[in-house]
């Protein structure tokens, strides 16, 4: 029996081995291998994202511009699609069969069991047409969500648009909180104020059982967050003025920027050619976007912020102000209209003082003004003298907010260019250039580049006699009042008393006899407009017309810059257009219908055929 007695140890050993194997295996899957914990969470945790209601956008008078309306996505679960009658389906959706096939293939490639959108952004009437028939098409369903809709046909450039986030965006850390298919503001205010408008996404973690039925909040909702609706934007845009500006710019290329000089608020921002904001929303948005993008007139280009042009004669004001501050000229200084220095625009009375010079926009006069500012004898070397002089001149010019971003609340703003001595060093070589090289800056031509917004801001600065507030679109967010970042004055290097001396000249431009901007006169309403015309030489075609002004001259309420491409002399087209805008804003209506008629239409009509 000894032999059999030993067998009990074999049995015991077997039991022990199995227990050890189990213990080890359990230790591995329970303690060492974390993947089971993740799998358990994947099983039971369902993450429900609540997309908040996007903030609304209002104009300065509380008129609603942008709102949200429900749109519907037609979703498809490819696995559940049974014997699709493609012909009937395409008739129902009013989409070509081929397009449906392509979309279906894409959906199948994404997932056979998960729902993906087949057609997005169906409007309520479009939905009504297909909803009742949807029962014949298993695998298709409707998902509602909110999309942007527009109560205005204007202001597309400033408003920007909302679109689905692209894969490229998703990779950036800034957009870490977004998921594929999420919408976000792509351009304009929608983009700049994205975080404000979007609100805060709510996330709820629900526990679900094996059939996907909710079994309550995860850990009592410890990790849940409520969605917070986006905040409304109260813009400073006067939508009536904006609409009027767009009407006047119809058929032209160019821009209008109107500011309230007392606050820096942007009253109107017109970029022509324009498009309706509703084009970039709803079904077929992608195709329409591509049409806009490929349009040779470049309607998507936000000209007032992005197009930099030489400012032309308007810049003479800045030139003069800097020279006054430097003390190299006085308002009584006279220069002769010497055509040998630079060609003048036209024959006119002698610029005996500043006011006449401004009124006549005398090129040789301002050539000499700038020469006085730049060539101060700081160095015996005339090249070095010009170099040092231009540096100092540029510093003062830039204090008007030129040559750099103003900091408007829109991302696409361009800097413009006020060329530095280094700029010319690079182009011509050190000490290889003098005042004769750069003189065209004095009349706003040459290497200088300014945006429409900057030009309007210069007008606001002159209107304020020496300071400006950062131009901005948004005066208040939600219930909040004025934004503090826009309450700060930016003071120029030029003393306020010098500003007072240039304004009579600008008034004379408009209301003085023989002034270049007589077409902008609002004297019949007792409104004194202070302005300056400009004609920008354009090597590629007809000159560009500009006019910048503010009014009323004694208590300015609006500063405006109008830029019309290829419209020739600024006084003919831009000046009356600006005056119509001023009339509209200050009087609420326009009674000078003849001017309205004159201004409307394409830029060609202003060109004198010779």
């Amino acid at each position: 029996m000894q032999y059999l007695e030993g067998r009990k140890y074999v049995v015991q050993a077997l039991f022990l081995v199995v227990a050890l194997v189990f213990g080890t295996r359990l230790f591995y899957i329970q303690v060492l291998d974390g993947s089971y914990k993740l799998a358990a969470d994947r099983n039971t945790l369902q993450r429900i994202v609540q997309v908040p209601y996007r903030g609304l956008i209002y104009d300065r008078n509380g008129q609603l511009l942008v709102q949200n309306t429900p749109v519907y996505d037609l979703m498809v679960v490819p696995r559940e699609v049974k014997q699709l009658d493609t012909l009937r389906f395409s008739q129902l959706l009013q989409l070509p069969i081929e397009e449906i096939r392509v979309s279906l293939r894409a959906a199948r490639a994404y997932s056979r069991v998960k729902a993906s959108p087949l057609v997005q952004n169906l409007s309520t009437p479009e939905l009504a047409a297909i909803q009742d028939n949807l029962i014949d098409f298993p695998g298709f369903s409707i998902k509602a969500r909110m999309a942007r809709s527009y109560k205005t046909e204007n202001m597309a450039h400033a408003l920007g648009y909302v679109g689905a986030i692209t894969p490229a965006f998703l990779e950036k850390p800034k957009y870490a909180k977004y998921f594929p298919g999420d919408n976000l503001g792509i351009t304009g205010l929608e983009s700049f104020y994205e975080s404000t408008l979007m609100g805060r996404r709510g996330v709820q973690y629900r526990m679900v059982n094996v059939r996907g039925i909710e079994k309550g909040a995860f850990r009592g909702g410890e990790f849940d967050t409520l969605s917070i609706a986006g905040q409304d934007l109260h813009t400073s845009i006067d939508i009536e003025l904006q609409k009027y500006g767009e009407l006047l710019m119809q058929g032209k290329r160019g821009s209008i920027v109107a500011l309230d000089p007392k606050t820096g608020e942007i009253l109107a921002l017109v970029s022509a050619p324009m498009y309706e904001p509703s084009i970039l929303t709803g079904k077929g948005m992608g195709n329409r976007y591509m049409e806009l993008l490929n349009n040779p007139e470049r309607p998507l280009f936000n000209r007032p912020l992005m197009a930099t042009y030489p400012p032309g004669s308007v810049f003479k004001m800045v030139n003069e102000l800097v020279a006054l501050q430097m003390g190299v000229v006085t308002p009584e200084t006279g220069f002769d209209c010497n055509w040998k220095l630079v060609r003048c625009t036209h024959r006119h009375e002698a610029p005996r003082n500043l006011t006449i010079a401004i009124k006549q926009s005398c090129n040789p006069y301002f050539y000499q003004v700038m020469r006085a500012s730049v060539l101060r004898g700081r160095s015996t070397n005339r090249f070095e003298d010009a170099r040092l002089g231009l540096g100092e001149w540029r510093r003062q010019v830039m204090s008007f907010g030129l040559g750099d971003k103003l900091g408007v609340d829109m991302a696409s703003e361009k800097k413009g260019l006020i060329p530095s001595p280094d700029f010319y060093d690079k182009r011509y070589g050190y000490h290889r250039w003098g005042y004769k090289t750069v003189y065209s800056l004095s009349i706003g031509q040459g290497e200088i580049g300014i945006t429409g917004l900057q030009m309007a801001n210069v007008m606001a600065t002159i209107a304020n006699r020496g300071y400006y507030y950062t131009p901005h679109f948004v005066r208040g967010i939600g219930q909040g009042g004025p934004l503090p970042e826009y309450a700060q004055r930016h003071v120029t290097t030029v003393d306020p008393r010098y500003f007072a001396t240039v304004i009579p000249g600008m008034q004379a431009v408009v209301d003085g006899r023989g002034g270049t901007g007589n077409f902008a006169s609002l004297a019949q309403f007792g409104i004194s407009v202070a302005g300056k015309t400009g004609t920008v030489q354009n090597p590629h075609g007809e000159d560009h017309a500009t006019f910048a002004a503010f009014a009323p001259a004694e208590d300015p309420k609006i500063a405006i810059a109008v830029f019309i491409e290829n419209a020739g002399f600024g006084g003919t087209s831009a000046a009356p257009l600006a005056s119509l805008m001023i009339e509209k804003y200050l009087r609420g209506k326009v009674v000078r219908k003849n001017w309205e008629y004159w201004v409307q239409g394409s830029a060609d009509k202003f060109i004198k055929r010779r």
Binding site: V18, F27, N43, T44, N209
Partner: protein, 431 residues
């Protein structure tokens, strides 16, 4: 219920203590498994009526435990000689029951194996285990297995195989497999270890044939065989026909696996083996049970999610969680600490049962003791093994833990007959 003093002295209280501990922990697990966070009204002190409480497994389990206590008293009070004397009679009754059950039983979950007596449902297959154990022990007491009397061996084989065959006929393959456990008891009583080795080897070849390409397997086996005989040429001379026949049988098995797999096994059984080898083979079918069971246990961590805090078990990801997959609730809510305690309890019980078996003077008592240990071990190994992906999914309960009256009564009877026999061992003189 007071037992006579002589019982209390001679009853093996250590086993009783382990039993009580396991049944208690088992009930807690059943309570956790049948607890629903949305219907806390199902709690113990909810003031519900009897009928309403009967809807909850944990409450019914209290009734089963209560009746099990009565059963224990009866089992211990019965004259120990009765188990010996009536072993074959009980066996006969059981065979008849197993035969008639498929004809009179209503189909439940695909098998006609449940007898319904009013509100109580009984599974004769559960009781077949201890009755067969009694019968084979009785038979073993009269023969000497080592003398290799062919007729006796055949009778023993017949006694052991008849109940599982009948059970398989009733489509309860899992319960039938348990009878393989008797081999362990026979081994202890002198059965040639060759049988165990051959069976283990056959199992290993079967699994390997599914895992490894067949030609590799045959090649490897041939190389080993050649090496063995090359080292010891003397053996080759004496056993060449044996070696060749073994080689032929193995090759036959390797190629027969496909036939066995595809033609003998039922589809669901085939799936269970496939899933064991590759759990992702059938992720939403049979693989689901294994995957979800592993997730539930694996997510428990070191100390678990806490009592009633399991999510995988609560939200029905694990099927059959209060019966066959009760180990998942333990693993998820009490973590590795809990599963280790359960394994240690089983080891303690098995060790104690072996100890009790070894101290029996009679072959009957010792064989029965080993049958008890083997049956408990088989259930434990297969049940826990399947929940952690080490054994195929076989529908057998975890002894004393799983919910169910038949199961609890069957294991209680199995265990306490041994304790009753043990209590009288001093009176049991040599037969």
């Amino acid at each position: 219920m007071a037992l006579p003093a002589r019982y209390s002295r001679s009853l093996d209280w250590v086993t009783v203590a382990i039993y009580v501990l396991m049944v208690g922990l088992g009930w807690i697990s059943v309570y956790a498994a049948s607890y629903s966070p949305e219907a806390p009204a199902g709690g113990l002190f909810s003031g519900l009526g009897f009928q309403e409480l009967m809807a909850f497994n944990w409450f019914k389990q209290i009734l089963w435990i209560g009746t099990a206590v009565v059963l224990i008293v009866v089992l211990v009070v019965i004259d120990y000689k009765a188990y010996d004397t009536f072993a074959f009679v009980l066996y006969g009754i059981m065979i008849v029951l197993l035969i008639v059950t498929p004809f009179i039983a209503r189909p439940i979950a695909g098998s006609r194996s449940w007898l319904e007596l009013g509100p109580i449902r009984l599974q004769p297959a559960e009781f077949a285990k201890f009755i067969t154990a009694l019968a084979v022990s009785r038979f073993m007491a009269g023969i000497n297995l080592r003398q290799q009397n062919f007729r006796d061996q055949m009778v023993l084989a017949g006694l052991t195989l008849l109940p599982p065959l009948l059970i398989i006929a009733a489509n309860e393959t899992g319960q039938a497999l348990v009878f393989a456990a008797f081999l362990l008891a026979y081994f202890r009583e002198g059965m040639s270890p060759l049988i165990l080795i051959i069976l283990a080897a056959a199992g290993a070849i079967l699994i390997l044939a599914l895992l490894v390409p067949k030609l590799w397997l045959i090649g490897a086996f041939t190389v080993i065989l050649v090496l063995v005989f090359a080292i010891n040429t003397k053996v080759l001379r004496h056993h060449l026909p044996l070696a060749l026949s073994v080689w032929a049988v193995v090759i036959g098995m390797v190629f027969g696996v496909d036939f066995f797999f595809n033609n003998v096994l039922q589809p669901h059984q085939r799936k269970r083996i496939e899933v064991l080898i590759n759990p992702s083979a059938d992720p939403l079918g049979v693989g689901w049970n294994v995957t979800q069971s592993k997730i539930a246990i694996g997510s428990g961590g070191l100390v678990g999610k806490g009592f009633l805090q399991g999510t995988q078990t609560k939200f029905d990801f694990v099927p059959e969680q209060s019966t066959d997959f009760i180990f998942c609730t333990v693993g998820e809510e009490w973590g590795w600490a809990g599963t280790t305690v359960v394994i240690l309890l089983f080891m303690a019980l098995l060790a104690r049962v072996l100890y009790v078996a070894e101290r029996q003077k009679s072959v009957f008592g010792r064989t029965y003791g080993y049958c008890v240990a083997s049956i408990l071990f088989f259930h434990f190994a297969i049940n826990v093994g399947m929940t952690i992906g080490l054994a195929p999914v076989v529908g057998i309960p975890l002894p004393l833990f799983s919910y169910g009256g038949s199961s609890l009564w069957s294991f209680t009877t199995l265990l306490f007959i041994l304790l009753a026999i043990d209590a009288y061992r001093k009176q049991d003189l040599v037969r």
